[in-house]
Symmetry: D2
Amino acid sequence: MIQSVLENAIKISRPEALKGEVASYIPELGKADRRQLGISLFSADGGRFSVGDTKVRFSIQSISKVITLAVALERCGFDRIFENVGMEPSGDSFNSLIKLETCSSHPFNPMINSGAIAVAGYLEPLISFEEMLSLSRKLCRDEGIVLDEKVYGSESDHNSRNRAIAYLLENKGIIQNDVERTLDFYVKMCSLSVTAESLAGLGLLLAQNGVDRESGKQLLSPDTVRTVKTIMFTCGMYDGSGAFAVRVGIPSKSGVGGGILSVVDGRMGIGIFGPSLDAKGNSIAGKKALEYLSEKLGLHMFGAGQKTEGEMEE
Amino acid sequence: MIQSVLENAIKISRPEALKGEVASYIPELGKADRRQLGISLFSADGGRFSVGDTKVRFSIQSISKVITLAVALERCGFDRIFENVGMEPSGDSFNSLIKLETCSSHPFNPMINSGAIAVAGYLEPLISFEEMLSLSRKLCRDEGIVLDEKVYGSESDHNSRNRAIAYLLENKGIIQNDVERTLDFYVKMCSLSVTAESLAGLGLLLAQNGVDRESGKQLLSPDTVRTVKTIMFTCGMYDGSGAFAVRVGIPSKSGVGGGILSVVDGRMGIGIFGPSLDAKGNSIAGKKALEYLSEKLGLHMFGAGQKTEGEMEE
Amino acid sequence: MIQSVLENAIKISRPEALKGEVASYIPELGKADRRQLGISLFSADGGRFSVGDTKVRFSIQSISKVITLAVALERCGFDRIFENVGMEPSGDSFNSLIKLETCSSHPFNPMINSGAIAVAGYLEPLISFEEMLSLSRKLCRDEGIVLDEKVYGSESDHNSRNRAIAYLLENKGIIQNDVERTLDFYVKMCSLSVTAESLAGLGLLLAQNGVDRESGKQLLSPDTVRTVKTIMFTCGMYDGSGAFAVRVGIPSKSGVGGGILSVVDGRMGIGIFGPSLDAKGNSIAGKKALEYLSEKLGLHMFGAGQKTEGEMEE
Amino acid sequence: MIQSVLENAIKISRPEALKGEVASYIPELGKADRRQLGISLFSADGGRFSVGDTKVRFSIQSISKVITLAVALERCGFDRIFENVGMEPSGDSFNSLIKLETCSSHPFNPMINSGAIAVAGYLEPLISFEEMLSLSRKLCRDEGIVLDEKVYGSESDHNSRNRAIAYLLENKGIIQNDVERTLDFYVKMCSLSVTAESLAGLGLLLAQNGVDRESGKQLLSPDTVRTVKTIMFTCGMYDGSGAFAVRVGIPSKSGVGGGILSVVDGRMGIGIFGPSLDAKGNSIAGKKALEYLSEKLGLHMFGAGQKTEGEMEE
């Protein structure tokens, strides 16, 4: 039954892709085929379902912020991370500098670029990129994850906005690590090459509070996972997070490579690849598919909403 | 056991009140005693627990935004309401005008003043305040709810910021209803007089997807309730909503009268009264108490977080 | 010679009018014919030159801010006016609320709506509109100035943005006068009906440091006039003031009725009427004409700029 | 007589210095003695007056923006410079990024950091720093001007905010030159070591529309000088430019090294050194001295304002 729901999701969502565009500000990402679409769903009871382009490798981009935050929480601790990075949705687009200038001394949350670069600044001195790569493979249960050298090169060459953000953070004393090393770490993490299946694997791990289903090992602490899931729910879909929470109700994180990582708490992980983006930078077909899945499979955090009428009238 | 947890919550939270201040911008609210604190917890299985000042009447203030939104969703429909009001956390304080000027043609969400005033503009022509009062009593299961004439008068006399917001909304075509009637409706709803018990009653109704526990009646549709709970989770605690979601993880809505309405989905409603506020306008002792209850009773949406260590290391 | 320069100015500027639009946000202003254009130049030596539509009455709009500021400086004194209103160009459009929210407790300058409304709040309790009308006639040497009842009615009916500004100023304690009376005073001053000749008359008075040429009377103090001219230079052409200062270099104030008041210090007053506006709200043909006059008659504050080449090279 | 006015200016202004602080964000500047004060006034008729610390070398800082703009106008032309840099006062502080994010695709004017860095980006490929140094000596008539290596080193090490601005400009396509070379050029120009006398020399050159008094040579074109003087008048004193224009009325440019360059058009150049700064970054004693000189010597652009009373009353 899940398999057929996924197939339907693909069928009704694929046409949406034609309404969006692939990311263009990093030239290498602009080469993607916007008609691609794949959904993987890994269930806590062991079921694994994949439909469409679920083995195609693509650039993880902002979804890496979830991995970086999780590892940083484990290595640096909650208090250190959130001393200078907030937990608030910003209401602005992901690469905005405004709030840093007008409001406060710190980035609003670790899911926007400024916050993620700050977190990278804490983490980079403590762990090598190679170790991060190895951890990413483990957390996603995907040994095929590699650094996509082309994306890494292309992004490094077109990184002036993130560089501006990073130097502003240095100016505010939030980044005390070397800025160029911090940026390189950040860009490398964004350039990891994953599949919809990798994301479903990571999603399942988070759905199970950090316990790896096969080995039974606690890979991430429940505290870390809880924090990560909450922030995904409130801030994971850029400045469309609030509407996504209402309509879909599944903690998710998107990336401009077209991926979406979704966590149905206690039940399943979902990974999506669909590189055609809406104006906010979220996979347009992916969002449609998740809305469909949420309704059909009853995945909304706050209940299925069976369209019963209220009897409130006097 | 719940009773003793509540008693402990009161005990450890009461000292927090001394770190905050009662609201001062509406003179009548400034007369509250900041040491007051009460918690009511109404459970889906019928248990009712109250500790402290739970029968003291106080001004509902922004918590009325939940009632207004729920009624507006029932009467006007989801699409009408969200045509000109967003669902995004704004990252700004509750009475800010900035986003209206810099970003978009519409208020960010119905939990901030601009959004709630817009919603009031839709609803006012369709329903009288007297009917709203009657509905409020029904939804809270509290026949004692009245309009506090002193607060209503005081707030009407000190309403220039909300008046500025309302006329700006008129200028943008979002309020097409009479502005002064809209404001009067809005202020009257803010001036309802409730208790911690009223809020626990409303919380339980929302926890049960709109079904009244005693009569079995569906007072609000599940769709409405789901939307309301999600927006409470992402936007309910002013610009501290994100951190509250991470630390406490319970959909809640606060008001500057010192109240907090909390909904533990499927399980219970919690109402708190503690008029001493933090800098963002949330009950300072109330937040402390909810953090304690969340941990002790395992109420966080994303799991209890039992402080187990991860074994992620290589 | 001046006469023929003016005739040329009209000839080369009239086509510009087709690139702009008449003001539309006040319906009554939208009825103007955008092809109209008139220039009056009154010289300190007694010369009076008028070409085109210089006897057509039109709505003074923001140019009244100059009169209101001058009278307020005389009646309330420099320190009282600038206690809560700044003297800085804002960089934002004339009806913006942003700076009031993000930056400071006061409006940036008395040439934008927020500042002018604040000044109206100081002045309204001290002087009746009838007295202001009488003074306006005297300062402009034009007994034909009247309140245009149609514009006044139309503007009063479409005033929600200024109303929002005024209530925000009340909220900040800057307006302590009755808000609706303040707004009425402000709107009435904007609805005065003038001609290009009225403005040339006022311009000449300011060029002569407040001394009326014919009677020899000091109508405004030199201090007041100096302040007014300086603020016209830095802030008089909305958020195009800086570029206008560089290109034209004549203290001027524009209004969305299509008027421009210009002061060539010590030498002449110029009044222009051309209701077709550019995107910033300045008369588009009027600006072109002034640029031409500045060059041909050598009116730039900082010299004529005869296009001599520098010999700076090594 | 001028000599005694200057001496009085020093006497009444020196105590002001104790109300301010020397610049601290560049460590090397923090070593200045805030009690220093010097004024040089070079007159068009050949008079040269100096009182106080007028031979002390100090860091030119933002006053170099005037030299860079003048040279850039000569080398690149007006249209090229103002294609992507505005001429509007910004209303924000000198090192702000806000307007770049919220308003427009370009820096507001060449007197704030973002605009000056953009101009440096145009100029750097066309002219070496050594040539700029040589020109600076010529324009200021001071062969003693050198690059202060300590300031240059200190500023290069504490330049993250300007680096953020520069990369944001690159991101917007405004800087197409190499960013690090552009910044280095900009910082070197800020690190020139001048005296109050150098600035008086430059001021006199500008007062004489670019003609060097002694050689009679046209070092800068009148067009360039006119543009520079106008922009100094509207934007030269950071976000205090408007109030300074009203109170003092002399085109001026300040720097956080404590210098002020002033131009009394056609009459004189004034150079001031007083390193104690007000909150906006202007020399606090320097401003006081200029206000005094403006009044005593009648230097205000819009007349001396002899405090005659108006007779406007009915």
